[in-house]
Symmetry: C2
Subunit: 377 residues, 2 copies
């Protein structure tokens, strides 16, 4: 009889956050690639680009002019996907299968740094800490607006990921409703918190109940590192390729020492170590294929903060069910020019991946934390 080898035998893994499967077909990496290749990344970007609508002092699409900011800068998106109220109520559904929900909110753009040519991977850790501080500010500000139910912080990096400007920036979309994906994560996390999980030494969520991601991170940090999925960890945070990763070099980044509902709950030390690990992960990403590594990144956490201070300690507040985590979804598979296409079977049936999460983690562990552009010689 043959024994099961995850890097040879196709199998399916369940993502407990979404309750969906991923099909793992590791032998597919042997397939020759004859399809589309990505154009080389623009290297040698100028530090300042007079045409860039995000550079200091330049004019934006909406006509306004940027300040000559020195660190970060935040402004409302000139082409926002959701708009502030009033938002008229849709008419009754013409058929029960054709329902419309009103939605409103606001979209912010956060410029990470005045330099046009830098990215998270090349910013200093103190610069990254300033970005984290901006995320906390906007999360608290938007998330305490009366009619906002959810704040999504994200970054699209790279033309391959639909980013239309290489100037380092991210976005924040705040909505009057919880979107489908975080909604399903929250449902599954709440369900998990109500199950009977024997003590494992992992931190617990509010009211001493189990937290799916505390449990998961604790297991991964404790597992054998040689075969494991951990890429890098520091005092508070771990970056790992999750067991159920879809994208070739997908990474989940989360605090593993205590239950942390949101970026607003971070201690000063956790904020600094967050900046440290963001720097390390993005440097490893760039070093993997010696290119500016494209990805979509998103922060999942408690949808919003309480609208008014209810005076409950964090660990008594049932609504603190979420555990802060970041998803990185990068498309590259084999080199700076060969990506994974999530199409066909993936769109119609189920995501499929070509190398195991363990293989991806090993590749990322082997990468240096000194950026390839900063190396001597």
């Amino acid at each position: 009889t043959i024994t099961f080898d995850p890097s040879t035998h196709p199998h399916r893994r369940l993502n407990p956050l979404t309750n969906e499967y991923v099909l793992v077909s590791p032998h597919r990496t042997k397939r020759p690639w004859l399809g589309q290749t990505e154009p080389p990344q623009a290297s040698n970007l100028p530090e300042y680009d007079p045409q860039c609508y995000l550079c200091p002092g330049n004019a934006r699409a909406g006509g306004q002019r940027n300040e000559t900011y020195n660190n970060t800068m935040i402004f409302e998106n000139d082409f926002a996907a959701v708009l502030p109220p009033p938002c008229p109520a849709p008419p009754p559904a013409p058929h029960p299968l054709l329902t419309t929900e009103p939605v409103h909110g606001g979209c912010d753009v956060l410029i990470f740094h005045p330099r046009h040519d830098l990215t998270l991977a090349r910013l200093s850790v103190p610069d990254i800490e300033r970005i984290i501080e901006e995320w906390r500010t906007v999360y608290k500000k938007r998330g305490t607006q009366e009619d906002i139910a959810y704040v999504q912080i994200f970054e699209n990096k790279g033309a391959m990921m639909g980013c239309s400007n290489p100037h380092p920036h991210g976005q924040v979309w705040s909505l009057s409703a919880i979107p489908s994906l975080p909604g399903s994560e929250l449902t599954n996390m709440r369900r998990y918190s109500l199950t009977d999980v024997p003590p494992s030494g992992a931190p617990r969520g509010p009211l001493g109940r189990p937290c799916m991601l505390c449990e998961y991170a604790h297991f991964e940090v404790g597992a054998s590192s040689e075969q494991g999925r951990v890429v890098v960890k520091n005092d508070d945070w771990v970056a790992l390729v999750p067991w159920w990763a879809i994208w070739p070099f997908e990474v989940m980044l989360l605090p593993y020492k205590r239950h942390v509902p949101s970026i607003a709950h971070l201690t000063p030390a956790e904020k600094s170590s967050f900046a440290d690990i963001l720097s390390k992960v993005t440097k490893r990403y760039d070093n993997l294929f010696s290119c500016s590594f494209a990805y979509s990144m998103g922060i999942h956490q408690r949808p919003v903060l309480p609208k008014e201070d209810v005076g409950l300690p964090d660990d008594q507040d049932e609504d603190n069910i979420a555990h802060l985590h970041l998803h990185f979804s990068p498309p590259l598979l084999r080199s700076a020019s060969v990506r994974k296409f999530l199409v066909g079977f993936e769109l119609m049936a189920e995501p499929q991946r070509d190398l195991t999460p363990e293989q991806a983690a090993a590749r990322l562990r082997a990468c240096s934390e000194v950026h390839y552009l900063d190396r001597d010689g």
Copy 2:
């Protein structure tokens, strides 16, 4: 007070097949596009390409040589994502959150036509009927194999959609498990069939129970065509941009006159009208931006046929809950070179679209059914 206008006011629509929302932000179409543009499609492909591993008589990656086929040809994928048994059982999960399911099956490639330079949009209707006949054959063959639980027929068309060879072909992946997405569609269709839906004149599913897609298609065909989502219909089939479409010009294609669980259940007349409407939809697609329109297409239907004939009439067979339908997911948004990127917010929170399904349907209705390359003058 302002009245709600779906083509001005952002709103969310629920997809009852997946129970997930899409965010509709129609005003976003005004946004200038400064991001990545797609390279022009290779036009002037030769009728025969000596380098193509799908052309008649040529050698494939696995070493075998293709027959000099005249119509369609089917063979097993040389780099299959699932493999035939034996498939060793995975070891017990190291933690309840890290589960592995064994999976096996087979992957077939179906070449649509010997000509390297043609696509569905440029094949004759009888040629398309031959492809449908092959789909029926492989669905019946794979789907009655003892250990196969699901057969996914799909096509990736265009380099933009990860297709590595322009020679017209599709794929068929047959698995020992029902994948996540059709699994969730089936769950929601079954749930719907058990609800109390007042008679609307729509066909009913087995045991006289409501069928979600019969109900939906019946409503759309009867709705006012000017404002509607119907692109084209014939005696048996309707092609429409669903209320809950994600991709800019997404189309759902389905029979609307009676409940049809799978392609194996089609009458000879329905088979011919299927070829007719496939031709019409793909021609309209190519004509929209005068290019070979990229998409992923997938057939959703009854997962497999009964392993042995149980002698039940179709309308008594409870397992006939599925209603045959095709999804077309095309990425282009504004022109042959500007696509929609489903990234960032879409990957982290919820799909977002820039024009309404009604606007997309109107655009497709306005397209000719004579292919732009076949027009005189």
